[in-house]
Structures are given as structure tokens and as C-alpha cells.
């Protein structure tokens, strides 16, 4: 038997809390997690007592065991944390959850991320310890501290190697903000962005303007995974997992920025695996939710996922090409991490499923195949591909 996840597991429901600016959540982080889990169960039309597994990533503080206990779950069978920091594990956690269901280790797995940066410290500020050892000792004394600063040099190298102009990254931000204007959950709804405002915005670190950087937020988001046959009896149109996985290319995590393939989003090994398992190619993807820690990572991951060649970036990366419903590659149709909410990328998973449910606020007409990619430039990166009933 060919080993594959394709079509064996489905997203039955999705849910999130209200999204807040960092520090603005009235609820404790763990309560946010609980609310998102319950919202996802409601969307799926199942009882929370049916949950028998939890998966997350980035060392989520809302531990599966505490969740199971708080929710009165009769038997927690499956509990898997994706190794690796950052949001690169978002879709890897989905793959891990799907693997649990497909293998029979669990029957109903919730994959989630809960994050209240206001309660536990912001990602965008430096750690304040005076001494540094290990990996950090080789970068932080030089003032290389934040995530934006860790990844800017990769984007610069890629742009240098392929003659990419700033406007390519701008197009990603413009499309996200435009999509957010139609999304009632989006924090940037009511705050549209145009070319002039982008160009005039301050540098965070070259080549990233303010609007090339994700937000920092409080909230939680969750999905429910069940066996494919079960999903057919539930209210939402089944959103099948066609493929999923994570990847760490050769030497990508080498310290002191020694990745062999430096100007890269780290998707070159995973993308072919995702397509192969799903039995599709990039031309079959109806919409892409691509993790924006920074637009430069989206740019490189779109190339490495085969949507255009590096030399085509300047021509392909236009706002029009990225807009739902008619663009060539509707991108981050909820507004994404830039303009909906930075739920460490899990909002992108939810939006990817909503496109298949037909419930997006920027619905791509007849969306059959939806792809989600997480954590560009970090290790691991991850991705998943969802498909509607007639893709099986």
C-alpha cells in the first residue's frame, strides 16, 4: 500500500477567538485556547467530548493534558508537539494531527495555537538578559536581535541574486490589506493600505518597511480533524487533507547565518513532497495562504513552491494577481498575518479550510484546492494542501 495522507482525513470545522492587538486580550491565554477549541467544535457540529487528540507547535503553553482535563475529555489518546520555534510548525501540526487520525491512533484531533503576547512577552522586542551564549552569542552582540533582523539579509540576498524590486514585496502587503477590508475578524479592517502609504512607511530593517512585517496579537485558533468518512456526515462541506508535512533543508539551521542555500525560504525540499502526495501541481492551486512573518519570506516561498520562476517575480508579483476572486493566485485571502491577525500562522490554516467550505470573506469562486504554507525562512517550515470532495 502506498503510504499517504491523501483524502483520508478532513477538516470538519474551524474556529477562533476574537483577535486582539497584543496585550489587549481580556482573557487569559489558556482561556483563549479553550474558546477556540469550543468554536471549532461548534463549527464542526461535534461535541468537545469527542476530542481525543491535540496537536500544536512552537511549544504552545496551553498543554494538551491541561486542555483535556479542563474540557472533561474521557480519553486523550494523541498529544503531539511539533518541534521548532516560530510559526514554521503551523501546517506541520496539521500534518501530525492528520497522521494520528489516518493511522487510527486517534479519531478526532484538534490542532490549535494560542498566543497572548501581551501576557508573556512580545516576539518583536529583544530579550533583555545581559549575557548571551550559544547561537545568540554570535548575533545579538551586534544588535541583530528581532525576527525581522534575522531574516532581512536572506531577502536582500535573494533580491540581489534575482534582480527583484521592492514593489514585489509591496504587492503582497497591498493584497493582504485589501482582503482584510472584507473580513470582519481582521484587525486591519477599516485601515486600507495604498502604494503611497506603503512607500512612505518607515523602515524597520531594510528591505522591510513597517507594512512588510506581521502584527503581534493575542488570540487563539483551532481546527477539528476527523476521518474522511465521518466528515461526510457533518455540516461543513468536507475539506480533505490532500497532503501535509514539514521540512528542514540541508544545513538550513546552521548558526551565524551559514545556511548553504541562504537566500531561501526553505521550501525547496517540502514543496515537491506536498505536490507529489496531493497528486497535483502548482497550477492546480486555486488559492494560497502563505505565512507572512515578513513579505520577503512569502516572496521566496511562492517561488520555491513553483508559482513563478525567480526571474518572473517582478512581473508576477502584482496586487491584481494576488486578489480574490479573480487574481491568478489569490493570496492570503483573510488578510493573513499582516492584516487579519498574527495567530502564529494558524489563521492561515483556518482560511485555507474556509475557502474549501465556501465560507471565506473573500471567497475564490469554486475553490477546489487550497494550499497553506508556514514559517518561511525558519526551521522547520511546513505546508498542507486541502481539497474539496471532487478532488478525490
Amino acid at each position: 500500500m502506498r503510504r499517504s495522507l491523501r483524502g483520508r482525513v478532513a477538516v470538519a470545522g474551524v474556529g477562533e477567538t476574537t483577535y486582539y492587538k497584543h496585550g489587549k486580550s481580556p482573557d487569559a491565554e489558556f482561556k483563549l485556547a479553550l474558546k477556540a477549541v469550543l468554536a471549532a467544535c461548534e463549527s464542526a457540529g461535534i461535541s468537545p467530548r469527542e476530542i481525543d487528540g491535540f496537536c500544536s507547535y512552537s511549544d504552545d503553553r496551553s498543554e494538551s493534558i491541561r486542555l483535556a482535563n479542563a474540557l472533561g475529555i474521557p480519553d486523550l489518546k494523541y498529544s503531539v508537539m511539533q518541534w521548532g520555534g516560530g510559526g514554521g510548525g503551523a501546517m506541520g501540526a496539521v500534518a501530525n494531527g492528520a497522521a494520528g487520525v489516518a493511522s487510527g491512533l486517534a479519531d478526532c484531533v484538534v490542532v490549535f495555537r494560542s498566543l497572548a503576547q501581551g501576557q508573556f512577552g512580545r516576539f518583536g522586542r529583544a530579550l533583555t538578559g545581559y549575557t548571551a551564549s550559544g547561537e545568540w552569542a554570535h548575533t545579538t552582540p551586534y544588535g541583530l536581535l528581532s525576527a525581522a533582523q534575522m531574516f532581512a539579509m536572506k531577502a536582500t540576498r535573494f533580491m540581489h541574486d534575482h534582480g527583484v524590486k521592492q514593489d514585489a514585496m509591496r504587492a503582497i502587503a497591498l493584497a493582504a490589506y485589501q482582503h482584510a477590508q472584507n473580513n470582519p475578524r481582521a484587525l486591519m479592517r477599516g485601515r486600507p493600505l495604498d502604494e503611497a502609504s506603503y512607500d512612505a512607511s518607515r523602515w524597520i530593517v531594510e528591505p522591510f518597511h513597517l507594512f512588510d512585517c506581521c502584527q503581534e496579537n493575542d488570540g487563539a485558533a483551532a481546527i477539528v480533524l476527523v476521518p474522511a468518512e465521518r466528515a461526510r456526515d457533518l455540516p461543513n462541506a468536507p475539506c480533505y487533507v490532500l497532503s501535509g508535512g514539514s521540512g528542514v533543508p540541508y544545513r538550513a539551521p546552521a548558526w551565524s547565518h551559514n545556511a548553504t542555500d541562504y537566500g531561501s525560504s526553505n521550501f525547496k525540499t517540502l514543496a515537491p513532497r506536498l505536490y507529489e502526495m496531493a497528486g497535483i501541481g502548482p497550477k492546480d492551486v486555486d488559492t494560497l495562504q502563505s505565512y507572512e512573518n515578513f513579505t520577503g519570506g512569502v516572496m521566496m516561498s511562492i517561488v520555491e513552491c513553483g508559482f513563478c520562476a525567480p526571474e518572473e517575480v517582478n512581473a508576477f508579483f502584482t496586487k491584481e494577481n494576488f486578489l480574490a476572486p479573480t487574481g491568478k493566485l489569490p493570496l492570503n485571502t483573510s488578510g493573513g498575518n499582516l492584516a487579519e491577525c498574527y495567530m502564529h500562522g494558524f489563521g492561515l490554516v483556518i482560511e485555507g479550510a474556509r475557502q474549501i467550505f465556501g465560507q471565506s470573506s473573500n471567497q475564490v469562486k469554486d475553490a477546489k484546492i487550497s494550499m497553506c504554507t508556514g514559517g518561511p525562512m525558519v526551521s522547520p517550515i511546513s505546508g498542507c494542501i486541502f481539497g474539496a470532495e471532487d478532488t478525490l
Partner: protein, 147 residues
Amino acid sequence: MSNYYLNTVVTAPVPMGDGLDKPFWEGLMQEKLLLQRCNQCRRWQWGPEWICHRCLSFDVGYEELAPTGRLFSHERIWHPVHPGLNDQGPYVVALVEFPQADNVRIVGNLLGDPRQKLEIGAPVKGVFEHHRDSDPAFTLLQWRLGG
């Protein structure tokens, strides 16, 4: 602090407790750039590890390398994320590669006008920045344009 590139000691680097990168930090204090080189396959490796990632030999040592390289990538940082850098203004981080050592790279600052034009491939020369009065004392390796 005027002899230092940054307005503040953001972090003071200390060797890892297991000793893995201790020769590197001790070397800088003696104005020597020491990086890892495999005694088996003779290839350079950085960052440090207990094993050579190419030939899997544990016989990995440190060897001195002339502190001259070229700019592999760069970034001009405008938004301070550390309170000690609030009045710094823009500053430049350089990623320097060593073609003479299997293209391994290290991170430093590029000295000079922070608004200077930055060109990938430009030759750079190392400048040792001693923080002997810090506790713990340490040395950084900074870079200046020119061969």
C-alpha cells in the same frame, strides 16, 4: 563607549557551558579569528558543532583564519528593539563570508557611515573591538570596507 560601534552592550557573549565555542571567543580576545576545521576531511565548518557535518568525524579542531572576507549580505536596521539602542539611529549588520575557508560566514557590524551604500561582494577587513572593561570581558569582530 565611543570606541564601540553600538551605543550599548546589547549582550555580552559568553562561551557555551559545554565549551563548544570557547576557542572562538578566547581567540577574539587575542585578536585571532579561530573557526572550526575538520582534521579528517580538512573542510571548514561554522557554526560550531561536535561533529563534522560532511565526513561525520569527531576530530574537529579550531584553526586561525585571516580576518578578511567579502560582504555576503547586509542589513541596515532602523527600528530599535532594545532600549539601549533607542538613540542609536540606523546601524548596519554585515554577513561576511570567507572564500578562503569553504565560504563559511560570520555576523558583525560594518563600521563607518551607517548610511553608506552597501554592496554584496565588497571586500571587508576585520577590526577587533575589545570590551575589556565589561564584566564579563569579551571581544567582538567588526568589519570595515576594503581589502
